[in-house]
């Protein structure tokens, strides 16, 4: 190093800082000569051209990349020439040359920032999922690059079912549970059977399962820790498995003159109101894979449990899988659906009642023909989970299940997740209801609409329709828009 000797001529022995200065100046000089240009290849073939001073650290490079790639620096993984670039090294140490390509992938958040990462993730999906009433997320929606995980066709339960004893499908009879829905007595009997309760309990107690349920559903993710807390709460679990509550609900429906499963509603005009007005849990399940079952849909539409049970192969609906063992009858899903049908259809049996936005507010009422949405998984999962709040609105039998921290706002979140308007079903009964979500669609779906616009879907009405059908999921909406061109 000649630079360390030269200063002795014109300056006293340099302070350490001086020498540092001069050497960094040297480096800077070098860097000016040696700025390198390379391409950063991100997921989905996005190419980000980069021209940098090679002496910056990899961490700095990641900072620079955070914006163009919209991947936070701590989740970026840079790979060059078969090596993962380490944050504390300089770019130069990897000898990246002009014209070369560095791969950028999105990894799990590094352990140090894991907590932060997950919070960020959930808030991001909040804005994506359309954010429940009132909590408008301030951050501009970032176009989310698909993570390597993109494509969520995986059934999160598949690996769990290996070691949890589930009742065999034989119990549904030769038609695999596709027959007429079991009558409530049967279901009750089933729920009272200790095996079924035990396996339900086991399922709900398994934290891995809860995690995968929550993670597989952006809307549950959006709820953040609340979803988890709720699903873990003793009350929720008890409610999911308590035959008593189920009995209560069937009685309530009988009292309303609705068949135990709301089936009576579906023959005539009420059918439209009942079956169509609300996305009965499970109805929206119909993914293309279930084509062969479509013939059954009309009948199954109002029968949430039946519908859930009739989708044994549902690739995306974690709850369908969860409830399948219960024999085609989703014990908790059914009653609210039927009740909702009753709510919509009961007063004057007006099939178009559900079109009245004042009554249903922000509900996403699929018209009767709309039973099939591509993103059924979301809604079905949500409805399986979310039914309790629906019931809660009608009768409040479920108050105990609400964990103390779950306030009205969260309930509203829950309702949104459910795809039911707060005050929708409840309002019809004059029960105390949360404020109905009367905001216009452009407000409710502001974020999603912007995203859809960014993606090149400019037809406002169609976008709103699609978002309603998908329950606010942009991905589902896109799928719908693409499949209905």
């Amino acid at each position: 190093m000649s630079s360390s000797e030269t200063p002795s001529k014109d300056a006293p022995p340099p302070y350490p800082s001086d020498s540092a200065d001069s050497s960094s100046a040297d480096k800077a000089q070098d860097a000016d000569d040696e700025t390198i240009s390379f391409t950063v290849k991100s997921i989905a073939d996005t190419k980000i051209p980069m021209t940098i001073n090679p002496f910056i650290s990899v961490a700095d490079l990641k900072q620079k990349l955070a914006e163009p790639s919209s991947i936070p620096a701590d989740r970026q993984r840079l790979i060059y020439s078969g090596r993962v670039l380490k944050d504390d090294q300089t770019v130069a140490s990897y000898k990246i040359q002009n014209g070369h390509t560095v791969h950028l992938v999105k990894g799990a958040a590094s352990t140090a920032s894991a907590a932060r990462g997950s919070v960020g993730g959930s808030s991001a999906s909040t804005s994506a999922a359309g954010a429940a009433g009132g909590s408008s997320s301030g951050g501009a929606p970032t176009p989310q690059l698909p993570s390597m995980a993109a494509g969520t066709g995986m059934n999160p339960l598949s690996r769990l079912t290996n070691h949890i004893p589930l009742p065999s499908a034989d119990m549904f009879g030769p038609d695999g549970g596709m027959g007429p829905p079991p009558d409530p007595e049967q279901v009750l009997g089933m729920m009272e059977s200790p095996e079924v309760r035990a396996s339900m309990n086991a399922l709900l107690q398994n934290p891995a399962l809860l995690d995968s349920l929550i993670q597989s559903n952006p809307m549950l993710q959006a709820m953040g820790p609340e979803a988890r807390r709720m699903m873990q709460s003793e009350e929720f679990r008890r409610m999911m498995t308590d035959p008593g509550i189920f009995r209560q609900m069937t009685q309530m429906q009988r009292a309303m003159g609705v068949g135990p499963f709301g089936r009576g509603m579906f023959g005539g005009a009420g059918g439209a109101g009942g079956a169509g007005a609300f996305p009965a849990p499970g109805v929206t399940d119909q993914t293309p894979a279930d084509q062969q079952q479509q013939g059954q849909n009309e009948q199954a539409a109002g029968n949430a449990g039946g519908a859930a049970g009739q989708n044994p192969g549902m690739p995306m609906n974690p709850f369908a899988a969860l409830f399948n063992p219960l024999g085609g009858a989703n014990p908790m899903g059914t009653p609210p659906a039927a009740g909702a049908g009753g709510a919509a259809g009961n007063p004057p049996l007006n099939p178009f009642m559900f079109l009245n936005p004042a009554l249903f507010g922000g509900a996403q009422p699929p018209t009767p023909g709309q039973a099939q949405t591509p993103s059924g998984g979301d809604q079905a999962a949500a409805s399986g989970l979310g039914t309790p709040p629906g019931g809660q609105q009608q009768q409040n039998p479920f108050n105990p299940f609400m964990p103390p921290g779950l306030d009205l706002n969260q309930l509203q979140n829950m309702m949104q997740v459910l795809g039911m308007a707060p005050g929708g079903a409840g309002g019809a009964f004059g029960a105390p209801a949360a404020a109905p979500d009367n905001r216009p669609p452009e407000e409710i779906y502001a974020d999603q609409l912007r995203q859809l616009n960014d993606m090149g879907f400019f037809d406002f009405d169609r976008n709103v329709t699609a978002l309603r059908r998908s329950g606010g999921s942009v991905q589902g909406a896109v799928e719908y828009l693409l499949s209905n061109l």
Binding site: T39, K41, D45, R77, I79, Y80, S81, G82, R83, V84, K95, Q97, G99, H100, T101, V102, H103, V105, K106, G107, A108, S147, M148, A149, A150, G151, G153, M154, R159
Partner: protein, 139 residues
């Protein structure tokens, strides 16, 4: 084949492909020591395939091409710990007989072939759920 591509030409070709990022999306390849004129030691990374336990993970491997490459397959060793039937759990060495492309090596196979095949074996239904050591652990 009318003419055999000599070893070093082949390796230079593979090097360029790796550095310019023209190879398979999920695998990356480069020389361990850029000054090694024999181009024997290589680094590779494999991005864990989606829908498997490997999702979002990055696996590092070392490849060694001896002077007979590409007439003989490279030897491959995992640096990142991975639980795969074709990987020796003590050393991370890929057992050549357990990986089809190594067992039935052809002269026109490249190291990228090996990486891609390793990745495919991670995504294989019988392997994708295998329990794995925490990310970042190495042999």
């Amino acid at each position: 084949m009318s003419s055999k591509v000599p070893r070093n030409f082949r390796l230079l070709e593979e090097l360029e492909k790796g550095e310019k990022g023209q190879g398979a999306e999920a695998c990356s390849l480069g020389l361990d020591d850029g000054d090694d004129i024999m181009m024997s030691n290589w680094n590779g990374t494999i991005l864990g395939p989606p829908h498997s336990v490997h999702e979002n993970r990055i696996y590092s491997v070392k490849l060694h091409c001896d002077e007979n490459y590409p007439d003989v397959p490279p030897s491959v060793q995992f640096i990142s710990r991975v639980n795969l039937p074709c990987v020796d759990q003590n050393t991370g060495q890929v057992i050549p007989t357990q990986l089809t492309c190594l067992a039935q090596w052809k002269r026109d196979y490249t190291m990228e072939h090996v990486l891609v095949e390793l990745r495919r074996s991670m995504a294989h239904p019988s392997n994708r759920k295998l329990p794995q050591a925490p990310e970042g652990s190495t042999y």
